[in-house]
Amino acid sequence: MLTKKGKNKPALLIGAALVTVGLSTQAMARDYISIVGSSTVYPFATVVAERFGKVTDFKTPKIEATGSGGGLKLFCSGIGIDTPDITNSSRRIKSSEFEMCQSNGVTNIVEVLIGYDGIAIANSVEAEQFEMSTQDLFLALAAEVPNPDGSATLVENPYKLWSDINDALPSRRIEVMGPPPTSGTRDAFVELAMEGGCDTFDFIKEMKSSDSDTHKRVCHTMREDGAYVEAGENDNLIVQKLEANPDALGIFGFSFLEQNSDKVQSSVIDGFEADFDSIADGDYAISRPLYFYVKAQHAGTVPGIEEYLAEFTSEGAFGEDGYLADKGMIPLDEEERDEVSNAVSELQALEL
């Protein structure tokens, strides 16, 4: 009996200790910044966070990649140290999300526009470079396209070869690898490239006001007969597949194009290749803004928030030659940058 009791005690004690540790911490303040949100902004935010942790006395912020929508949901769930301080987003906050924030007490949100991200259409450097318009892209990838005979009706996508769409394109099978619908890159591609190409047809464009549901269905639905291949969320995988298959095109983030410029080349879309200058100037059509949102009510409670903002919006970080540009983010122009850093230093609250 005695030995049994002796053996049992440590386990009980440890268990009790664990419970106390767990319950007591919530009362303590968090000493690091908690960031959630978009996996597109993640590679940029992490660089800033790492540097911030190294050059200041603050702890390195913790960054979770939850996706833009998931991030905003967590962010707007309330005020307090068990909610995140910052959420990254590869799109602007929606008014519904903004209202959710307000009703949960998150009333003081600072919006920070940090730069742009391009979406590249690329193929292996061993194949010839593609030159096409967003219209060609739409015709190649949409489930329904305007009737090739020129009438204002829609038919199921009949195109098998690139040359069927445009004589200038090679007579090769249409084969494009891209992200699945769960990915933010896919959303942005559909909105920018597909819808852009879709609206070059007047009768479809008119639908936008008359019959917006059909307009959305036509412009946003990708074909499912094998010409568009959902190749997974991992952009590295798409690059590898392009390398192995020179006949295929792939859709992925600009930073992956940058890092693999010896293996893949960007296609020319509407006369412009995806590169730094064309995206920054807005010439390259398929690019989107990147944001993060800050809970200004946490500034002062969680240490380092203002300093993190200052680091992120410093010229050395998001400037023309900053380290974020080295990682593949397209910087804002000087005027925009000034505006953002001013707004940030005053913690100007967002109004929608």
Binding site: G22, Y42, T46, A49, N236, D262, K327
Partner: protein, 451 residues
């Protein structure tokens, strides 16, 4: 009797007439067996071959997988360093005569490194070429320099010879062993000029490839040459510790009660069925449960090993309970009867006799359950452990991540050098799994008793 006899003979007649139409119904068994013997032997052989083929195929897959991981991951265990003669001039660093700690931190270390590189290649004049030159040294070089100065401020004003980590691209081409005099043959993002710099440095013996200690002493980083697995390793260890401490006592207690004390009735049946069902629940469900109960209701911190441990212990509990019950069942009743016969109470029977004898089996089950938990990512996604963690977690409530999550995050990074880091992290993870399974086998071999 007669009835059945006539029945069966009828059946026989029918059978043979069906099987061999036109043949005489009076064939003896031996010739029947002989006729089919060759076919049966062949079937046997085929069956054996299928078995061998299945094993060979799975082994081949395993070999392909492991070799590709090892080939890819091996370079990550070494890193290239470049020798620099750094002139730690107070002016270039922007320091006063008596620098404060704050000044030391903010000093222009990258300026010193850039100046040294310029002095090493005095011919480089153009802005673009200079930028390319600076890219050869890892951006972590400046932090390393700061650490050196902080440790010994006396080196300010002197010239020191030191080895700084090379940039990941430079390291990649030096490690690949490509012929640097023929830049066109090398697949790299580096420019021909940069390859030229690399060749000069290599020929002068100013580059060196060493064991990559950083990989085991650093947390995550966005610079591949700075990224390490220590934070993930410690995170995994803390999480598993919580898992073990919760699931082991609870599971063993549950198993003992069900096996030794519980009455056989409807309720214990229901409990039993549910334990088996629980073992088959997809792990992401436990993640959702953890989010709803431990984080949203009990307000435990997000991304903390304590929550990860609790969630994973829910997942491992059924595994351990099932294994423990099997181990307890394997202890023969004679042991219990003998103990009772000597006057031991029920509790004494369990604690002094049954449990010690069942322990090897229980521990094996526990280790296998924990090895499963070590490789789990899905439930951790929901509770925020899929995160960028640089600082090494120091306790159960610090933000942390685990090894398989680190693999996942690196696999998704744009920088190419992360490919080798990913494989290297997989090697470390596999190493731990093999180690844990080896311990399980050892325990079984040493302590298991056959009855």
């Amino acid at each position: 009797m007669t009835n059945t006899d006539s029945d069966s003979s009828d059946m026989n007649n029918q059978d043979s007439s069906q099987a061999l139409p036109g043949d005489s119904p009076k064939r003896d068994t031996t010739s029947l067996v002989k006729a089919t013997l060759a076919r049966r032997y062949a079937a046997e052989k085929r069956f054996k071959f299928y078995g061998i083929f299945a094993i060979a195929a799975s082994l081949a897959f395993l070999v392909v997988l492991l070799t590709s991981i090892f080939i890819k991951g091996w370079p990550a265990f070494t890193h290239t360093y470049v020798k620099l003669n750094l002139e730690l001039d107070a002016d270039t660093l922007g320091l006063s005569d008596n620098p404060t700690a704050k000044e030391l931190r903010a000093a222009n270390y990258s300026g010193v490194i850039k100046k040294t590189m310029r002095d090493r290649f005095p011919d480089v004049k153009k802005r673009k070429a200079k930028k390319e030159l600076y890219q050869l040294i890892s951006s972590s070089g400046e932090y390393r320099l700061y650490d050196m100065v902080k440790e010994n401020p006396a080196i300010i004003g002197t010239t020191i010879e030191t080895w700084l980590p090379a940039d990941d691209e430079l390291a990649a081409i030096l490690k690949s062993g490509d012929d640097l005099s023929d830049p066109d043959s090398i697949v790299t993002r580096m420019s021909d000029q940069q390859i030229g710099f690399a060749k000069t440095l290599k020929d002068a013996g100013e580059t060196q490839t060493r064991f990559n200690k950083v990989f085991f002493t650093n947390g995550d980083s966005r610079e591949p040459e700075q990224a390490g697995i220590k934070a993930a390793l410690i995170g995994s260890a803390l999480t598993l510790l919580v898992t073990f401490m919760l699931s082991f006592p609870i599971a063993v207690a549950a198993a003992i009660y069900l096996e030794e004390f519980a009455p056989q009735n409807k309720w214990t049946d229901i409990v039993e069925v549910n334990i088996n069902n629980l073992a088959a629940v997809p792990s992401i469900v436990f993640g959702l449960l953890g989010l709803a109960v431990f984080i949203n209701f009990f307000h435990l911190p997000r991304s903390a090993p304590v929550v990860g441990g609790i969630v994973l212990s829910l997942m491992t509990l059924p595994t351990i309970i099932i294994a423990s019950r099997a181990a307890l069942k394997a202890v023969p009743p004679s042991i219990r009867e003998a103990a009772r016969g000597l006057g031991a109470s029920e509790q004494q029977v369990v604690w002094h006799h049954v449990l010690p004898l069942a322990m090897p089996g229980i521990l094996t089950g526990t280790i296998i359950g924990l090895a499963q938990a070590l490789g789990e990512t899905a439930p951790l996604l929901m509770i925020g452990m899929v995160a960028f963690i640089v600082d090494i977690p120091a306790g159960f409530t610090d933000a942390a991540t685990v090894l398989p999550v680190q693999v996942f995050l690196w696999a998704d990074s744009p920088e190419r050098a992360f490919v080798e880091k990913t494989s290297a992290a997989i090697i470390v993870l596999l190493g731990f799994l093999i180690l844990m399974n080896a311990v399980a086998v050892m325990l079984r071999k040493r302590f298991e008793r056959r009855w």
